[in-house]
């Protein structure tokens, strides 16, 4: 375990097992360790993507209770939170319902359109 500590932590889940598999110079006359392997965290393509926002715009036709129900269903928000967003849409003209990776944001917008709400996807500047 000590040698592992000297090698530094890999920063990944199950690091003990990973560390065991890190190559160590095992020549007959050498008991020293190889140069430490430094693992750097790399970001996935998704996390490199700038967050996208799901925005719902005001519409005088859709009922307030209906909009609240849609927010609860699509985002799984509790009723109070769904109502807060609904009122923001009603009073300010728009509300940011969710922010994150593009793929998921697109899915939310698609669902919202299925309920006939005015929803758009916008990139966070």
């Amino acid at each position: 375990m000590r040698s592992q500590a000297r090698r530094g932590r890999a920063g990944v889940a199950g690091s003990e097992r990973v560390a065991d598999s890190i190559p160590i110079a095992t020549g007959p006359a050498r008991a020293t360790l190889a140069d430490p392997t430094i693992e750097t965290e790399t970001k996935t393509e998704e996390s490199l993507d700038l967050p996208w926002q799901v925005i719902v715009h005001n519409d005088p036709i859709n009922l307030m209770t209906y909009v609240t129900m849609v927010f609860q269903r699509v985002f799984g928000y509790p009723r109070e939170k769904a109502e807060r967003h609904m009122l923001e849409v009603h009073q300010k003209g728009r509300s940011i319902l969710w922010a994150g990776v593009r793929e998921r944001a697109e899915l939310y917008v698609q669902q919202l359109h299925g309920y006939l709400l005015l929803a758009t996807l916008e990139k966070v500047e």
């Binding site: 005088p60 209770t65 009122l87 009603h90 698609q110 359109h113 299925g114």
Partner: protein, 170 residues
């Protein structure tokens, strides 16, 4: 007209011929026909106008799915409305029973109809807030009444079947 929930059904009874006719009009009212504004409202853009690629992809892949979704809901409602087409006397009051399992289809069809009618007539905010406008003296007045009547039904379905209560805007 009397409206109540009975077990797993929503029952609209004592429907006079006028309201029965408005209900029969729901499927036809969901059709944007030649109205560009109604079509644009049902199939609104998913992103800002500048996002041409996203909008084009959406039109190609997502819009057909949405059309199918809306059509399926309207067909369910049209099938339920067959109850109003019996051989009873034309002017007799009727009863319509909507299964609770069809609640989502009804919410969708009523919403489609309200959005299409409102887009076609371009109602102002004050017109839409005037729930007690009477008498009905023009086609526009009738369409506004239709929007409000369908909204009333939506509210009832939301409260009785979906379980959403009143929300206060103040």
């Amino acid at each position: 007209m009397d409206i109540c929930r009975r077990n797993d059904e929503l029952e609209i009874s004592e429907l006079d011929p006028f309201l029965a006719e408005l209900l029969r009009q729901i499927p036809a009212s969901t059709n944007p026909e030649e109205s560009v504004s109604a079509e644009q409202r049902l199939f609104s853009r998913p992103a800002a106008e500048g996002e041409k690629e996203s909008c084009a992809e959406w039109k190609l892949y997502v819009e057909p799915e949405l059309r199918k979704l809306f059509r399926t809901a309207t067909e369910t409602v049209a099938a339920d409305l067959q109850q109003l087409n019996g051989n009873e006397r034309t002017f007799a009051n009727r009863t319509l029973r909507i299964p609770a399992g069809h609640a989502d289809a009804w919410l969708s069809a009523l919403n489609q109809a309200r959005l299409v009618i409102a887009a076609k007539y371009n109602f102002t905010d004050s017109e839409l807030c005037d729930h007690y406008r009477s008498p009905i003296g023009s086609r526009r007045d009738l369409s506004l009444f239709q929007v409000n009547f369908y909204g009333f039904l939506q509210e009832f379905i939301l409260r009785e079947i979906i379980g959403c209560g009143e929300t206060r805007a103040d």
